[in-house]
């Protein structure tokens, strides 16, 4: 079954930039459509690998699409533009949901994804900055990205660049001690161009976060560490846009900010939403067809 086609990619449509619009209703529609695109491509890529992190990608599809089509300063086809905003994927295991968006920005040929995870291919389960244009830092080992993001934010600030650095963290990732080292350090150095997003889908590999190791009260923790903390429905594109804008358009901001995005792991596929075992999995052919249909119907 042909579940993908190149026409999904804006980059193949000869548009000078992705069609970002200032009209909010159109923008929200666009972002929602790109979130569906990211989910469908995730299904396609995992069908190549025959194993992957569907549910982790589905929980942050709207967050990624909002950042890449409504928030970040990027230039089409220029993944190394020094003044760009940066994105770091703390929960790098969901990279299959990000790759299609990077291809969409013209950072590489979407056809390269057709060999996802094949021997020697650049595109694996975790993102590799040394091989993939548009990956601002490699990840895979949880807990590093808030520190590497702090470094990028400090470096761009020191050089007078306007870049914001967005770091998407898993909620399970917050178990890592280095996250809290970075939380202290970024607040101490007033790294206001650092914006963390916690994809609070309430699950890690072994089950519900509150049964594995409790992280609540999460907003209070970040605020106690000196961050501005916001909470939002991580699937509500309009709310995400408003929250991101309130932060990046605030000329008075002096502190790093965190957005706690409440999400549903596996969002868009009913049986994945209710079963944490879908953290890692694979869909056989008919199930994949059904999944695609459900994703399309749920948009």
């Amino acid at each position: 079954m042909d579940i993908a086609s190149d026409s999904w990619y804006f980059s193949s449509m000869l548009t000078p930039t992705p069609p970002v619009t200032d009209h909010d209703d159109e923008l929200v529609d666009l972002i929602s459509e790109r979130a569906l695109f990211a989910r469908l491509e995730t299904v396609r890529l995992i069908s190549i690998a025959k194993t992957g992190h569907y549910a982790s990608g589905f929980s942050c599809a709207e967050i990624l699409a909002t950042l890449y089509y409504g928030v970040m300063r990027l230039r089409k086809g220029e993944p190394d533009w020094p003044d760009r905003d940066r994105f770091l994927f703390g929960k790098g295991h969901a990279a299959a949901t990000l790759y299609p968006l990077l291809a969409d920005w013209g950072f590489f040929d979407p056809a390269e994804l057709d060999e996802y995870t094949r021997l020697g291919n650049a595109f694996g389960d975790h993102p590799d900055m040394t091989r993939i244009p548009g990956i601002d830092f490699s990840s895979g080992s949880l807990g590093h990205a808030l520190s590497t993001g702090t470094g990028i934010a400090l470096g761009t600030r020191l050089q007078g660049r306007p870049s914001n650095v967005f770091v998407l963290l898993g909620d399970g990732e917050l178990h890592e001690g280095q996250i809290w080292e970075a939380a202290l350090g970024a607040a101490h150095h007033d790294v206001a161009n650092l914006i963390a997003i916690v994809d609070r889908n309430d699950h890690s590999l072994d089950g519900r976060i509150d049964t594995v190791t409790n992280i609540e009260p999460l907003g209070d923790k970040w605020r106690a560490f000196g961050w501005d903390a916001h909470e939002v429905d991580g699937h509500d594109v309009r709310a995400l846009l408003a929250t991101f804008r309130a932060i990046v358009e605030d000329p008075e901001r002096t502190r790093p900010a965190v957005i706690i995005a409440n999400t549903v792991k596996g969002k868009g596929i009913s049986y994945m939403e209710s079963e944490f075992g879908w953290h890692l999995g694979w869909l056989a052919e008919q199930d994949e067809i059904n999944a695609i249909e459900e994703l399309r119907n749920n948009r």
Binding site: G140, L154, G155, E181, G185
Partner: protein, 329 residues
Amino acid sequence: MSVAPGLQAESWHLLTLIERAPGFHILADTLADLVDEGHPIVAGTADLKYSNGLVAFQERHPDRYVQFGISEQHMVSTAAGLATTGLQPYVATFASFMAYLACEQIRTDIAYTKQPVRLIGHHAGITLGFYGTSHHATEDLAITRSIPGLTVIAPADTAQLGAALRAAVDHPAPIYFRIGRGQDPDVYADGTHPFTIGTAIEHGTGTDLTIIATGSMVHPALEAAQALNSGGISTGVVDMHTVKPLDAEAVARAAQRSRIVLTVEEHNVIGGLGGAVAEVVAEYGYGTRVVRHGVKDEYALIGPPTHLYRHYKLDAAGIEEVARTAVGS
């Protein structure tokens, strides 16, 4: 320097430590000079600026200095991020915390991604004496040497550290600098030995014995060689300041020239300089006997550093004794 009115002249406090460690003056001064010369250097440490002397760098270039607090893993990862923006970060902490606590960050965030970060592991080996095993670093060469893409340099003295820092400015790879407590006796104060990363410095030649030493062991090795030569044992010394990439040609020359190759390092005999030299000699098939001298796969005792060097035969007399045994005289 007066410590406080009414105290004895011999009393001292933390800040006077730096006065007694020229190796740390050269670290801060060289980095600050490089900033003056236009290099995009950023330096930071994890709450040890008085121990490694970077306080002097901070005074000269406060905008290029980052205090990370006691967060070594965060420091190393942050340095990786800084490097991606075109800056050249130098981060320093005790060698034990650098190589053990931040090992994964070094390997995955810096070496794999090829970021030109300079890691300064100071007070390496057993220089922290009675501070104990948590502060001893006698496996750091083995760890860092096995990380692909990471250059490993152990300067012998203050002058060589300064030269190595300058030689490293345009080095395209990340570097682990293994340095001692900034009080190593001078070997190269006369400035007659140029420093090139990856090129060992050969001091004389010996048909009986070549001692290959690194870092703090170069000075006592040279003293031992002098005594051995005086006693009729033909001995040369190789300063293997760059442990990786190893100067295999210098090792080959030693193995062809001498009956015995003796490696000396303030480090476990497993995996460090001795391991690296033995690998080369074995693979070339020279058949030359390699004797590895250092800490014998154990955790060092506590004690004052000079006492520990004597105990582990890592002073000149000890090295001479080990060498005599090795050559059978």
